[in-house]
């Protein structure tokens, strides 16, 4: 029983810092994914195409 306790303790010592480490470092891949999602919404880029839905680039904005 004591052995199990020590083995568990050892595992916790090894594993817990690993969890903390994951949370301290900046998750670059996740950030990229989040950025892409937000940019697609702001610029209204549909999946599969790299251009916004409407192309106001070709025509000057209305009322100007």
């Amino acid at each position: 029983m004591k052995r199990i306790f020590y083995a568990g303790l050892l595992t916790a010592i090894v594993v817990l810092p690993a969890c903390v480490t994951i949370n301290i470092y900046f998750p670059a891949a996740a950030a990229e994914k989040a950025a892409d999602k937000i940019i697609d919404e702001v610029w209204q880029i549909k999946k599969g195409e790299q251009k916004p839905v409407d192309q106001p680039a070709d025509q000057p904005a209305q009322g100007k």
Partner: protein, 137 residues
Amino acid sequence: MKKLLFAFLALILTTSVFAAGADLEINTPAIASLKASMQARHGQLASHYASGAVGLTRDGLVAMHDANAVPLAQRQGVNGLVSAENGDRNALYREIAVANGHPEWESEVRNTFAQRWVQKAQGGWWYQDAGGGWVKK
């Protein structure tokens, strides 16, 4: 011994959950309203990106690149759009860092966005390279 094995398995499972749950939180009311505001403004900014009047900076913001591409009468309005957009973008980077419990991530969030904005920009739009020089995509 069986108990020990289960303890091990449980711990391994916990770790993989920690590792897999690496998605950033971006579904907060503050972020949603910033997104909506930027999306609405993009309708007005898009033509200025295309004309080269406004470009994407290396620090994830926008800036006047070629003021001559805008008629004098409209210049004030474009300046207003640029500063409003930058206000939203700064707030967005801050909010994402805060929403994930790490305010100190703000500059890394900004850098990530700076690269992705350029990556997703249309051909013909202007952006700043790493050295700060303007480049046409």
